[in-house]
Amino acid sequence: MKTLLAVVLVALLGACTTVATKKIASGENTIGERLQVNIEGPWNYISAPNMGPAQIWTMEGLPVDQLRIYSGIKDGEVIHDTRNSNLKSFSFRSNMQSDELVSMFEGMLTRGGSTFQLSKVEPSTFGGGKGVRFEYAMVTKEDNLPLTGVAFATVSNGELFALLYTAPRLGFFPRHQARVEQIARSAKILPTPAAPKY
């Protein structure tokens, strides 16, 4: 949680005008041209440079909850922001199986040092294809706040599409979980637009 917030605030300090918060309205929305979701009720989308390849949405603010959405991540791509280069890095590989995808996300979530416990790992459809759904519990060492998470992931034509939602176990995760599950169920992977013919 803290790293992303720090990224955003540092961008602000740099008088960078590219920090923006956008309202994601109910209805059809497309993330990164390839992942379409249909949402019930608005969300807040926060963007700043160097936040990594996922799109980050939130209901209560970055220090509290984060919905990370991955759309069309390619083989070899690093799946997080690259600010702390002394921490271990995690990249996606096209040939990853479900258990490897789960390990990769676990590694990313615990990069800064958190306890982590998987509570459920099961097959699931996501984006219209076969994928994995997992639930987890974690506590970051700085905040000492117990968090709960749910995630969906699938690999389609060698590209990663995924959604991870992490929020405090008390109050917030239960409050927003149903809407997150609904977003995941509505997800559709769009075909790569055909190359224009000349």
């Binding site: 040092g113 306890t115 998987l118 509570s119 099961e122 000492n144």
Partner: protein, 382 residues
């Protein structure tokens, strides 16, 4: 009686100027118990900071509050501390790095990476005795003084704080490492305390010898290895400790008691070790550990996992061998069969994969990933 005390920190004397001495000549005595210093002094400020770090540690999810293991380790620390026993408070911390530390206010941390690596009570006592040595000689106050002049007391406090700066541990420890003289003194005192508490002092040298095995296994060498935080291993140190112990005979090691007391945590600690992703170090450690009396199947399973995850040339075969050996011994973790299943699956041995996954589900029907494994079985049945 001719008693010789070590020069107290803060006197400004250079300990390096002292002639080297052997254990036989100079019987060292611990100072009397410390009194809490005035908050406005350097030391008092540090003490108060430690108190607040201790409160955070107490509430932290990394605090391993085990009603069996904690009192057991507390007792060992207590016997090493002698008269200072009432001032020592032991916290077991869940983190896979090799470290123990003792803050000036009496808070002692023992990390699970250390508990996993020592073979017996005596080796643990060697490390804890070393820390008590730093505490009794107030080396951290000395460190604080030099830290203050480079204006980073907060960072220094973090060394004793919650797991906090693990990734940067190597860097911070480098900046604030105890001086070599302090380290030598702590080694000397540690060995003495071990011996007085009834432990075989010869085990002290083994701790570092074992660590060196791991350090040397690392592909890019032993350069500032974060695994070892503030306790650099070295051949010199190992040799010195062997020498110090030469004149101290007798004492127990308590291999059995230690391995049995830690058994309930072994798999958790091994999982965290594997997740470090430092394959060569883990293999070196696990190879050594698999020669222990207890828990062989666990160590073999863990090494199999490391091979499976590294997946280098010949590694999948090594993984299979280890998993199969663990299963043959009996008492293996259920994950052994999941590991077998995953390797068979990736090498297109469907029937064997199915059988292994089914065995895993039999042994661990409530596993978090049971639904995913069931799905693997179905896919392999097509």
């Amino acid at each position: 009686m001719n008693r010789r005390r070590f020069l107290r920190a803060g006197c400004g004397c250079s300990l390096g100027a002292l002639p080297a001495f052997s254990m036989a000549q100079e019987p060292w005595q611990a100072p009397p118990r410390f009194v809490r210093p005035d908050t406005a002094s350097d030391e008092g400020g540090l003490w108060a900071m430690m108190d607040r770090e201790e409160t955070k540690l107490r509430r932290s999810p990394f605090n391993l509050r085990d009603p069996q293991l904690q009192p057991y380790v507390q007792d060992i620390a207590c016997r090493l501390g002698g008269d200072h026993c009432p001032d020592i408070r032991v916290y077991l911390v869940r983190t896979p790095f090799f470290n123990a530390s003792m803050a000036p206010n009496g808070m002692m941390q023992v990390w699970s990476g250390l508990m996993l690596r020592v073979d017996n009570e005596a080796q643990l006592a060697a490390v804890l005795g070393h820390e008590v040595g730093h505490y009794l000689e107030r080396h951290s106050i000395e460190r604080l003084r030099s830290a203050k002049s480079s204006s980073a007391v907060g960072q220094f406090a973090g060394l004793f704080g919650v797991v906090g700066l693990i990734g940067a541990m190597g860097l911070v420890a480098g900046q604030y490492a105890y001086s070599r003289d302090n380290e030598r003194d702590a080694d000397r005192i540690g060995v003495l305390l071990m011996n007085r508490a009834g432990y075989d002092a010869a085990e002290a040298a083994k701790v570092w010898g074992n660590l060196l095995l791991e350090v040397n296994a690392r592909p890019n060498g032993a350069a500032r290895n974060p695994l070892f935080a503030s306790h650099p291993a070295s051949e010199e140190r190992e040799a010195t400790l062997r020498e110090l112990a030469a004149s101290l005979n007798g004492g127990v090691t308590n291999d059995d008691a230690w391995q049995q007391k830690t058994a309930p945590h072994r798999r958790q600690w091994l999982q965290e070790e594997v997740k470090r992703g430092q394959h060569e170090e883990s293999i070196a450690f696990l190879t050594r550990a698999s020669t222990r009396m207890h828990g062989k199947a666990d160590y073999l399973w863990a090494r199999g996992e490391v091979y499976r995850l590294r997946a280098g040339e010949g590694d999948l075969d090594s993984a299979l061998k280890d998993f199969q050996a663990a299963a043959a011994l009996g008492g293996e973790p259920p994950e052994t069969h999941r590991g077998l299943g995953l390797v068979y699956r990736s090498t297109h041995r469907a029937a064997e994969a199915r059988a292994s996954f089914e065995r895993y589900l039999q042994l661990a029907p409530e596993a978090a990933d049971a639904p995913m494994v069931k799905n693997y079985i179905q896919e392999l049945s097509v």
